[in-house]
């Protein structure tokens, strides 16, 4: 009971919005003792919570870790996995590693773009699916492969894409 009260208080004192997600973020920051060296780990947690790293969140983290906002921004833009803009609920990652490339990943990506009506890096209108390409998801034996969250779908080909969109993608929508 005691703990709960404290957490609630800390929300109020730490972020004016009172958004409960900041309380979760506070826990992660406390776990790493607000160490600036844990910045990347904390950004991971923040992106998990908010879906993307907005200016407000970056300023908040910078304040907590006593880092210049510019440095936090610099880190966010350096790494591919962080995003400053909202993405869809689910991320479709088309692997474009070597093994997938020689087995036709580009054609797969082209077909997915056509089928979903969005380009790489874009999000569907219903905000459910975003399409990206990944450098290598390490599922080379299943090439060409795509990953949606933690799920990997392998041995695809462009002509399987329409069916794939109808059957598998439904699960996420």
């Amino acid at each position: 009971m005691m703990n709960e009260t404290q957490t609630i208080q800390s929300v109020v004192t730490t972020h004016p919005s009172g958004d409960a997600r900041f309380a979760s973020l506070d826990e992660t920051i406390a776990h790493y003792h607000a160490e600036p060296t844990a910045l990347i780990q904390i950004l991971h947690a923040a992106q998990q919570l908010f879906g993307y790293l907005g200016a407000d969140v970056l300023r908040y983290i910078a304040g907590k870790l006593k880092l210049p906002v510019a440095q936090v921004y610099g880190v966010v833009t350096f790494y591919h996995l962080f995003t400053l803009v909202p993405r869809g609920k689910h991320q479709i990652m088309v692997c474009r590693g070597t093994a997938c490339h020689v087995r036709g990943a580009q054609l797969l990506l082209d077909r997915l773009q056509q089928e979903l009506g969005i380009k790489e890096g874009e999000t569907t209108k219903d905000n459910l699916l975003s399409l990206h390409s990944a450098r290598c998801i390490g599922a080379c034996a299943m090439a060409p492969a795509i990953a949606i969250g933690d799920d990997v779908y392998g041995k695809l080909s462009p002509d399987k894409i329409p069916k794939f969109c109808q059957k598998e993608l439904k699960k996420y929508v």
Partner: protein
Amino acid sequence: MIRAHCLVCAGAGCISSGGNALKDALSNELQVRGLDEEIRVVETGCMGPCDLGPVMLVHPDGTFYQRVTALDVPKLVEEHFIKGRPYQPLLPKDEVTTAAVNTQRDFGFFAKQQKIVLENCGTIDPENIQEYIARDGYRALGDVLSGLKPAQVIAEIKAAGLRGRGGAGFPTGVKWELTAKNPVTPRYVICNADEGDPGAFMNRAVLEGDPHKIIEGMTIGGYAMGANHGYIYIRAEYPLAVKRLQIAIAQAYELGLLGKNLFSSGFDFDLELRIGAGAFVCGEETALMRSIEGRRGQPQPRPPFPAQRGLWGKPTNINNVETWATVPIVMRRGAQWYSQIGTAKSKGTKVFALAGKIKNTGLAEVPYGTTLREIIFGIGGGVPNGKKFKAVQTGGPSGGVVPEQHLDTPVDYDTLQALGSIMGSGGMVIMDEDSCMVDVARFFLEFCCDESCGKCPPCRVGTRQLLNILDRISHGEGELEDLDRLEELAQMVKDASLCGLGQTAPNPVLTTLRYFRDEYLAHIVEKRCPARVCKDLLHFTIQDEKCVGCSVCARQCPVDTIFKVGGQKKYYILEDECIHCGSCVDSCKFDAIVKASDGEGHVTPQRPAVLERPPGRKPTSLVTA
């Protein structure tokens, strides 16, 4: 009483082909038949032959089953566990005799390997520390902490001739000694699990299949170098590996195998995970350390080397996953034993990831000195679909291609370097006659260009310019002078870049130019792509004599550029609007559509007078510009 164990592969490959469903179905079936007290289902790490997944191994008889789906389970249980005979339809077949292979031992893919690093992958449950301990796990750590001085450990690693598995092949013992002799404290050890090379997944298998081996190796290394703190830097793209490592670390702490006063020796060792965020350059050691420090992963000039000034300016030793995983084995079985495996200069075994145009994609562990031919054709089964082998790409974006005539080269660090490629971390991507070497070079260059951190101009600007030239060539706009420009520029980028990424980025260009110059010439002079890959140089034509007018191609065409010929049961492709996606070729059941790259000799078939919309064409769901 347990009479048999069903080892179900839970590697990433098998999971994506339905491994989880198989496991659930199997557990369920055994329970329904009342066999769950006698037969245990164990989820293991990657067994290696990912292409055959989901795979399963039954102990004690050693029967290996391939492509097992949940639907096969009732019959399999009936045959194997009730009637006591192997379930024939799911046994692998011998390549030569085509007879069913009853045990894993006799299956060529496994029989030709020597598993040392992967000894536990596919054998134990990676989420259970007791299984690792039962396989002599943590014994080497116990022996080291209770009987050896740090210097003796280093001497043993040196005597074993262990070389770093991350790519450069630097002697591990020497590296450890440099860190150990630096008087500054605290010291750190780091495991580089940022396996970013596209086409490589060896480390993933070890991380997911035998995580304790890495923990044990790092703890031994920490003791030898007087480091009490270790970090595992792992890429975020491997969520399963992250999860299994977290479990493994927690279990090790629970049993007192990490933490304070290990084996009552007074030695403390703490281990933490650091998760990357998708930057290839972070595989470079100085960049990796910056990333652990929570900064942009930009490399630093060396010297100072990490052993001099590493993480937070303190002496640091960084080794690759496979190197750390080899350490406990060397300490347990002795340098004498280990140094007998391999070649004079490269000791031990190496895990290779076979991918691309190869039958048995997956992992293969062989002693150094094994020829490329043995790995690709002996274990890998060669190129599928009767196609002709063209080249193997080793070492990822830092490596190069090795053509057919050099396949009999015994593989070690030095031989591959002599061929212009590198060993790298062990990825091998096999290319067949349908792979275009200009496209492959362009692919790697695009990768390096994209992943360049931007700190030094030779890499940032040089790779971009190389890519521009290759782009031109693959679009059919290249000129002969481009080849000299490529070579000159590549050499400059190689010589002048700050870190390994830039220094090796031109390797794919240089090796393809060296071995496949004729392909470059075909693109430049004849404006054709011999492998028919480079889209801008392709033409698609429907052959009238073969076309039956079924309209499948027209319905597949994403840009509606295939029309019915007026009054005839024939179809015609409007070449000007074709995007060269190849959907029509894939969909045609009569082989009536030809994909050609005949360069300037191409003749467009005459356009019929009347073109009609194909019948039944659904309104397109596509967004066309």
